[in-house]
Subunit: 147 residues, 2 copies
Amino acid sequence: MTSDPFMQAAIEEAQKGLAEGGIPIGSVLVIDNRIVGRGHNQRVQKGSCLLHAEMDCLENAGRLKAADYRRATLYSTLSPCDMCSGTVLLYGIKKVVIGENRTFKGPEDYVRSRGVELDLRDDAQCIQLMQDFIARQPVLWNEDIGE
Amino acid sequence: MTSDPFMQAAIEEAQKGLAEGGIPIGSVLVIDNRIVGRGHNQRVQKGSCLLHAEMDCLENAGRLKAADYRRATLYSTLSPCDMCSGTVLLYGIKKVVIGENRTFKGPEDYVRSRGVELDLRDDAQCIQLMQDFIARQPVLWNEDIGE
């Protein structure tokens, strides 16, 4: 189990999503050492093609000021895809903490090249959640990543 | 007035958003010469940081198959930002028709480098909508583009 309470909160979001019959990816947004938004993938629950965990988290955080995003850290249990990475770039979020990128890897090099700090945790619990899910629901997983 | 009925539909979405007190950007998704989704920026109307016009349009189109996205064309009255461009990349949308990029320009070169065809119209009506809006509501506009 991770000793980082923010990554732990993201994992709890992923587990919540799994318990709802959804895709087990979770995310939290942290500003000044405080969680200001939480979310998990809502493809199944809300029939949404937009609400990846990171997007649900940012939407739940509400309309923030540019200065707030710029000192924010986004935690995600999985490497952010092109959409979620683009959203990080739009709002100038300065750092992303990534649970794992073994089961899926977004455009990390591009995001880094645009000045965002990435902190990859290679977390065993995050990997396990996704490996189990992908083995059980490959069609749903492919839909979520546009494949 | 544009002679392209799909761009015209995107402009009508932008005008609908303006009439609601919102940011005048509109979008439609076209597959096999038919509009399958329409949307406009919902920052003001729904308090959303995610629902740019292109995102609202894609969400309204619902959960589509990968094969559908891959023959889709996304119309937007304004050059897609990092978030909306990332969403185009995630789903492998093959072509984006852009009303204008004078008042705002997203990462067009990057999107092209990833294999997406961009068709820039430099449409006078799209430019006018945004120029008038930005002059009237610069703070709201800056919020929408993370500035």
